[in-house]
Subunit: 142 residues, 2 copies
């Protein structure tokens, strides 16, 4: 990572309940979605779970097609506060791939299930997982 | 817009205090930042204001350089709730440009100053404004 993660940024990555994942297609058209995620250095993991999606087959999700054709990804975690001096954000840019099996896949699912109790009622089973390997961090906080 | 904006999505765009803007560079590397913004059909406007930035000259901001070389932009407004059935999001994809003068520029600054009282203490003056012309809307809410 080109910039050291501050303690506040690490805390944000570890505790935030929602983040935002940006990808882009082969024509450089950007796409952004809200994500649940877990952070475990040097990775961010986010699942394709059973929450409603715009398509039935996960292979058709734009984030998936974008990652398959262009592995670059940007994950932002931020806190908005009406006192703008209390706003904070950390952005992790890197390379994404899609896991459907293996140790990292299982590890990610376990971390996600531990972080989000919602998965007790919506089991992840063998849900695909997007893995972003962080290469560069940017951050700001007051 | 290829999908009609629901009443809930319109309310989100009109009332949300923070959104997320994704752009991409000429190599299709995505970038995402939190933004304050105003929505006025068919536009989203977001300023380059005096909040702390990673660079001193606004021309060097990645969002600006990306828009100058690749006008595609994606704006997401979402609400996270621990009851996932109450989550909501609306995404507006379109083409962005940068305003530094003119009627739309002045109109955007007026709308921003009216929405965000924080600008009383951090005047926008003639701040540059990113204008996203919405071409496609996607949305989900419970």
């Amino acid at each position: 990572m080109s910039e050291a993660l501050s303690a506040r940024s690490r805390e944000l990555l570890e505790s935030a309940r929602v983040g935002h994942l940006a990808t882009a297609d082969q024509y450089a058209r950007p796409h952004v979605v809200p994500i649940v995620f877990v952070y475990e250095h040097p990775f961010v993991f986010t699942p394709i779970d059973a929450k409603p999606k715009s398509v039935e087959d996960w292979h058709d999700l734009r984030r998936i097609k974008n990652i398959e054709t262009n592995g670059r990804a940007s994950v932002l975690v931020d806190v908005y506060d009406e006192d703008w001096s209390k706003c904070a954000w950390v952005r992790a840019d890197g390379v994404a791939d899609i896991l459907v099996k293996g140790d990292d896949h299982r590890r990610a699912l376990d971390l996600l299930a531990a972080k989000y109790r919602q998965y007790e009622g919506m089991p992840l089973r063998d849900a695909p997982v997007i893995r972003v390997r962080i290469e560069h961090v940017s951050q700001w906080h007051g």
